[in-house]
Symmetry: C2
Subunit: 560 residues, 2 copies
């Protein structure tokens, strides 16, 4: 239990949506939950009303009883530490009141401050369906707005909110937006983000208004800034673009968020997504300006990456910022997912390597002497490549620890070579004979391939290439040891000229090196999760090395 979640460096903060549903998935709590998930938050969702809707419009609405809205809210708040809340469609006065009063009462009773609360004052659907009863608007302003960190109306919603007192307000220009944002703030929320998606603006409009209101700060997203002429020449000229300007009004500042207008019909759920993304950013403690920047960027990319779904105004693509993990995170029950995946994905080759006839004959003591001698002299030559490859790994390392580890391995290899020399002396082969041995193609192929991988790729790829040998010999050692321990085993350890070889590779010293190798391998995938393309490269390197190992033993058996 203590280990659970230990590899998640990003905490999943709990956020809450209080809104209606959209069974077709593009808006409402469905869109909110997708947004929360895509932005790494833990999503909760209280339903104020069910709808039957799709991308072509809203067909029907079934509100939840206000008592049941309260009950849902209390179930969540009593159990989960919610770090930010967004409200969407509240539908009627009773449910609006239930939400405002339950939130106020819960946090007052708990003696705690309300977490950041974003209110998307959803009033009318794109298709013209009323999503907030007229009498609910007054309740929202009177009871909810005083609790709210940020309201996020679009043009229509802002006009509705500001026209309540019989004085009709129209918002058509950037100047109107600046004035309206101030009036929205006067309705009680701590801040107002007036969205400009339905209002046409150009760079000249922005420059004009900013010159009249020099305190306004401009944040541009998705537009090229200075010193980006090399991108400008292939991208459309920003000055000629129609812009979307969102106006963020706080007590002491006004900020314009300008971005290029995108022509798209995939806009169903844009408001839901924006306010949900705002809640995610606020849950992480971002200020309103940074939160707005992140949320508008997320929403913008959702529209531009939209896929064709439905027959009307399609949904955003909420998954544009996600990449699927290929190697699972290590868990208590599976602490070595990368090693496991590599072995299992090349199961047949791996088995042909570690249970090779060469190994079986060696363990039976029946391996012809010339085969073993061939192997051990070629292995001597191979180990020089192998040591050099660790030298290359040291050269490719960026930390002294990594340089040290690679170097220590070279020293281990040098010691392994000393073992070889001792064997060879036993078998009547001198150091000079070893040096004079002609190198076989199987040896050159494997050795040079590892060095090639070291030249081609980064340190991670080289570690994968080096692992097949290190881990394979460890596996052979343990397999033979396990087989030797069975009753009536076929493995012969007494009077077997090769017993010392088995002892060496199954021994604690070599096995400790194997475990370090496994840990190094696993750390790669945790620190820098490979994309599908990168993992496929690793898998191919692993498989090729496994195959070359098998080829190495084929060549040694072939000399008899």
């Amino acid at each position: 239990m203590a280990l659970q979640g230990r590899h998640r460096d990003v905490v999943q903060r709990a956020v809450m949506s209080i809104a209606g549903t959209d069974p077709s998935g593009g808006a409402g709590i469905q869109a909110d939950l997708k947004t929360f998930t895509a932005l790494g938050c833990y999503g909760t969702a209280v339903v104020t009303a069910l709808t039957a809707q799709n991308t072509t419009g809203v067909q029907a609405v079934h509100p939840a009883p206000p008592q049941f809205v309260e009950q849902q809210l209390r179930s969540v708040l009593a159990d989960i530490d919610v770090r930010a809340i967004k409200t969407g469609m509240l539908f009627d006065a009773d449910n609006t009141r239930a939400v405002a009063r339950t939130l106020a009462a819960f946090y007052a009773d708990a003696g705690a401050a309300l977490p950041p609360l974003v209110c998307d004052p959803v009033c009318v659907s794109t298709s013209g369906h009323t999503l907030l009863h007229p009498d609910a608007i007054d309740v929202m302003v009177a009871e909810l707005f005083p609790l709210v960190t940020l309201i996020t109306p679009n043009k229509c919603e802002a006009e509705l909110l500001l026209s309540r007192r019989g004085r009709p307000v129209k918002i058509d220009t950037l100047e109107d937006m600046v004035a309206s944002a101030e009036q929205l703030l006067a309705l009680g929320p701590k801040a107002a983000l007036l969205k400009g998606g339905h209002i046409t603006a150009t760079r000249a409009d922005v420059d004009r208004v900013v010159s009249q209101h020099p305190h306004i700060r401009v944040v541009s997203e998705g537009l090229l800034s200075e010193n980006m002429e090399i991108l400008q020449i292939v991208e459309e000229d920003a000055a000629a673009k129609i812009l979307v300007v969102d106006v963020l009004r706080q007590a002491d500042s006004t900020v314009f968020f300008i971005s290029p207008r995108i022509e798209s019909t995939s806009t169903h759920g844009t408001g839901c997504t924006l306010s949900a993304a705002l809640a995610c950013a606020l849950s992480r403690g971002e200020d309103l300006i940074e939160a707005t920047r992140q949320a508008t960027t997320f929403t913008h990319l959702g529209i531009e990456n939209a896929l064709p779904i439905g027959h009307g105004f399609g949904p955003l693509n909420h998954l544009h910022g996600l990449v699927m993990r290929v190697v699972p995170l290590p868990t208590p029950s599976s602490p070595h997912p990368l090693t496991r995946t590599l072995i299992q994905s090349t199961q047949d080759t791996w088995k042909a390597y570690v249970e090779h006839d060469f190994v079986r004959q060696l363990a039976r003591g029946t391996l012809p002497r010339e085969c073993f001698l061939h192997f051990i002299t070629q292995d001597y030559l191979y180990l020089k490549y192998y040591a050099r490859a660790y030298g290359l790994l040291a050269a490719k390392s960026s930390s002294l620890d990594a340089i040290h580890a690679a170097t220590q391995t070279i020293i281990n290899i040098v010691n392994e070579v000393a073992m070889h020399k001792a064997y060879c002396a036993q078998w009547g082969i001198s150091a000079a004979d070893l040096e004079a041995t002609p190198e076989e193609a199987a040896t050159t192929a494997y050795g040079a391939y590892i060095l090639d991988i070291g030249l081609q790729g980064d340190g991670a790829k080289l570690v994968v290439a080096l692992a097949a040998c290190l881990l394979g010999y460890g596996e052979v050692g343990l397999w033979l040891k396990k087989e030797a321990a069975r009753p009536n085993t076929w493995v012969k350890l007494d009077n077997n000229p090769y017993t010392k070889w088995i002892d060496d590779y199954s021994g604690s010293e070599y096995q400790a090196a194997v475990q370090v190798g496994i840990a190094t391998l696993e750390a790669l995938a945790v620190a820098d999760p490979p994309s599908p393309a990168r993992f496929e490269e690793w898998r191919m390197v692993w498989e090729k090395c496994t195959r070359l190992e098998k080829g190495f033993w084929d060549a040694s058996l072939g000399v008899q």
Copy 2:
């Protein structure tokens, strides 16, 4: 519009959940939508009943009217091509009937086959709350099961389903599970997955039952297979583990899915998650065995990676398989997100480089001759490093196209050097003088750093290192060209000894190379999306190269 979604190689198939809600986010449609999102599907969700619940239990249930369930279903089905469906909590007989009849009628009217339908027969919550009225069970069996691809009961649900006719059924052993799975199949669905989470089993139990029923196939997940002794010695012995056995019964086969039992209290929503993950796999056309394997693995990892949320049985972690994209996908309004992010993340250094005083003086024609000569002779030496780095890039490339592209760049550099020599000749510096020029530290630093990156990292990292020079000179050329075109420009092109230099770098030949460089850079992030760690490495390489470029011009200005 035509470009939308062009970079998403994975289609988002639409899947549908028909279930209750869980406002606390761990179960119900909330868990289903998280699962759909985490598995790359487009989630839709029809609500059968609202609940007030959290990790400690279910506090209340408010069913949707059956007509409204039908209306939601019709809104989605009429608009969206749903590729798989799962049902969860249906709550009462009326809603169960509404779901079964609407699905049957819709697809019959459309003359289409029902997509794969997974039925999780949710009957009782972990905390003992009734989630399916007793009379609804008969409706489920009679009306829904005939449409169903797969039912996924746990022990309690299976006992309830099989005990309907007054004959109480208990499922306590693996043998019971095999018999019950067959009886579940007889209730009408095409297949039954009887989940074994509440039944204790060991490897010996599995071996015993399989020896009695030799047709049973065993699929193990999260357990080590043969030739994995090197992992076995640090992981617990599989033979000693308590196992979970899920039994998949189809008309012609029985499969055991065995996995290690995990001790965890984070199990709220396990059944919802499993059936949702099954729907995702079935929507992609996987067969039932592969779908079950994928879904059990996803659910298992969700439990093991769970984070502490709530005070009772906490939710799974649905995000365990997701990595956040650092570089957004290219879109029509932002086709160069990697280049843009690199430039913007090092804005100050980049500006100090491309608007360097050296460049300004050069464009004014006021740059001292000795500064230009210093620059151009050092640049000659630098270009040798730069060409060699492309040689290294060719050596690191895996396709002939990439080898060719790197080689072509070397040829371009050789041509650029010819231009240098012509300049130098104009300024009275011979080829021999050039060769004899001592190399400055700024030159060695930059040249050797690029080669070091080529040694250290993979081809992608080297491409980033090479881009700062290629793109920066392109930016300088375009910037000066743009400034020169302004009225009353400070740039002097007539009678300026350096005009040819400006013309060369702003000219179409060099700019075409810049665009190829940008396209190469952007392709990297699309083909192999960098993890946060990898992107940070790229950013640091880019920034260092930008800084070294500035240093190069500092050194040339410094000689006056």
